[in-house]
């Protein structure tokens, strides 16, 4: 992936409409999202909560794979680490969910940086290989008998859903929706600031021209490790949030297919496009439900075909498509105006 205009175009060069409308759209979107849980049934609120949680995971993977060019086929492992840490802290140590969450996130940050260290020496395919093995080996580790006291083995761990605090008149599903929404907004804004800072420019430069980046004085190893850590922090938080929402973790929820799902998510949403995480998460949550009507085995085949089609025809995914349409619309309006 050589360019991504959403990330590289200086703000001053954006059409004025795009610059201000974006902010307005964001506000409008947030307002709409705040009404949603009161307009929909709890089931749909729950589904959207999961979508937002997945979008945080996709954001994390996109930081690493899309923006930094480190291919991970095992990000499900960090998702699982976050989910299990959350579950173990909540059930075994009775830590409140809001306190367990940062712990789970930080643990993933540390673990991600540790895995990022050997990953420094692995380029492209080799990193993909090592992370693929991580994703495949993970369920076995979770089932391992000596960890069973903590992980609950094959049975997994059941959690209880948190009640709304401060006597707010919300159902647990509605409360969790707002909780996850707030975190997702924080995660997106942080990622955006990060990418627009010198760190972000270094991250993208390392992807595009590692040698030139090093020659310019960028500490490639440091930034790659940081990116790996931040990426798994995001993915771990997503895992923890999903665990709270689903109220259950078990090894079989975290097979190697989860890692592949995440990859499908960023490809479909848009590689190296921040909004892509949302489109990707919507896709991941709702398309399998649709395809399973066709056949139990259809999802994989459809995912596969979609992946190939996107790589050939829409390399910047849905987000790239939307941006292009938006640009075209803005230009058309400009022409009419002048």
């Amino acid at each position: 992936m050589t360019n991504s205009y959403a990330a590289t175009l200086p703000r001053t060069q954006m059409p004025a409409l795009l610059r201000y409308r974006r902010f307005l759209l964001l506000l409008l979107g947030l307002a709409a999202l705040s009404i949603v849980p009161f307009a929909l049934e709890d089931f749909w609120v729950f589904q959207l909560t999961l979508v937002m949680a997945s979008s945080i995971a996709l954001l994390g993977l996109n930081l690493l794979t899309g923006f930094n060019g480190q291919i991970s086929l095992g990000h499900g492992a960090f998702f699982a680490l976050g989910a299990y840490t959350q579950a173990i802290l909540m059930t075994q140590f009775s830590v409140p969910y809001a306190l367990a969450l940062p712990v789970a996130g930080l643990l993933c940050l540390g673990f991600g940086m540790l895995f990022g260290l050997p990953a420094l020496r692995l380029e492209g395919l080799y990193l993909a290989l090592a992370t693929f093995a991580l994703g495949v080996a993970l369920p076995q580790l979770l089932k391992y008998r000596h960890f069973e006291a903590w992980t609950g083995g094959v049975q997994g761990i059941t959690l209880s859903k948190p009640e709304a605090p401060f006597r707010l008149d919300l159902t647990p599903d509605q409360w969790l929706y707002f909780f996850v929404l707030a975190l997702a907004v924080v995660c997106f804004l942080t990622a955006r600031s990060l990418l627009h800072s010198h760190v972000g420019r270094a991250i993208v430069a390392i992807r595009d021209q590692p040698i030139a980046a090093a020659a310019m004085g960028i500490d490639v190893a440091r930034y790659k490790t940081i990116t790996f850590g931040v990426s798994s922090l995001y993915t771990g938080i997503a895992g923890a949030l999903t665990a709270i929402a689903v109220q259950f973790v078990a090894p079989d929820s975290f097979t190697s297919l989860l890692s592949i799902d995440l990859l499908v998510g960023i490809v479909v949403g848009g590689i190296a496009q921040l909004p892509g995480a949302i489109y990707g998460a919507l896709f991941m949550r709702f398309i399998p439900t649709l395809t399973e009507h066709l056949s139990k085995s259809a999802t994989g085949a459809i995912y596969g075909v979609i992946l190939i089609v996107f790589v050939y025809a829409m390399p910047y995914g849905i987000a790239g498509f939307v941006t292009r349409m938006f640009m075209r619309l803005t230009q058309a309006m400009k022409r009419r105006g002048s």
């Binding site: 291919i71 495949v136 080996a137 076995q140 391992y144 592949i260 490809v267 085949a301």
Partner: protein, 290 residues
């Protein structure tokens, strides 16, 4: 001692399977510098084809040969239709396409043949003469087949002009084209061969692990480990690595860590090799000109 020998032979037999699949990976890596993540799924699909034929009453060895031919054609077709258009694409796109193939073959197998476990016949008869506590007829058979594959491939690459042309394409496609070798056909041939070797690996391992759409996921991780241990650009290394990983897996599984963490062993092996000696035992150290 008896269990030790038993484990050792079982390790050699599964090692033979890993060696074959690693060999298939190395063949594609040598020719195109790509790692085929769908190799295991392709092999699994081939094995299902063989199973369908055997279940329909076709004699084993005829089904065997027919499966090899079909796999060869499928491999060559994949090269031509999916991989060649990606010749200049970034690594990420290529990995995504391989993952797509993995998903497609995995779910196609479930769709066409069902997701239930099936037993797959072993072609090797339990003869009186080789009854012993150390190894089964199938294990010996796998070893013989693996060695035959290795020897056959070695002879093909070493003594035939077609093999020479394939090697030339792997080393330097531009120069190969200049001396009149059809690079495209050679790449398709390489993919075809690789798919056929994978099919052999699948048919050899299926009687041990049972046939189901996910049977090759673990095997493939071991084959990755084997290829990396031996050096991903060295066919001999892949074979050596395969046997080494097979034996190591079985002995560690039996005596040290138990069977539950076998895949973690493969993971650790991959990470350690990549960090300590990325070129593997017999691979060439990669030197990049900046």
């Amino acid at each position: 001692m008896e269990t030790f020998l038993h484990q050792l032979f079982a390790g050699l037999a599964t090692g033979g399977v890993y060696a074959s699949l690693a060999l298939a990976l190395v063949m594609i890596y040598q020719a195109t510098h790509l790692v085929n993540f769908a190799q295991g799924e392709l092999a699994m699909f081939s094995t299902y084809t063989a199973w369908a034929m055997v279940s329909a009453g076709v004699p084993y060895w005829i089904a065997f040969v027919a499966t090899l031919a079909l796999s060869f054609a499928a491999g060559a077709a994949i090269e031509r239709l999916v991989i060649r258009p990606m010749a200049n694409a970034p690594i990420l796109s290529v990995v995504i396409v391989f993952i797509a193939l993995l998903l497609i073959f995995n779910s196609m197998a479930g769709f066409l043949f069902g997701t239930d476990m099936q037993s797959f016949p072993s072609p090797f008869p339990e003869l009186e003469a080789i009854q012993n506590p150390y190894f089964s007829a199938h294990e010996i058979g796998v070893l013989v087949v693996t060695l035959a594959v290795v020897f056959g491939l070695y002879s093909f690459f070493r003594f035939t002009s077609l093999g020479l042309a394939l090697r030339a394409v792997a080393v330097n496609p531009q120069s190969a084209r200049l001396v009149g070798i059809r690079v495209g056909s050679m790449l398709a041939l390489g993919w075809g061969l690789s798919a056929a070797i994978g099919a052999i690996a699948g048919m050899m391992v299926a009687p041990i692990v049972f046939l189901d759409p996910n049977m090759m996921v673990g095997v493939q991780v071991y084959a990755f480990a084997a290829a990396l241990v031996g050096g991903i650009d060295s066919p001999l290394g892949a074979v050596l690595g395969g046997f080494l990983v097979g034996v190591l897996e079985n002995l560690l599984g039996a005596y040290v860590i138990g069977t539950e963490l076998k895949l973690t062993v493969a993971l650790a092996l991959i990470v350690v090799v990549l960090i300590v000696k990325p070129s593997g035992l017999l691979g060439k150290t990669a030197v990049t000109r900046v």
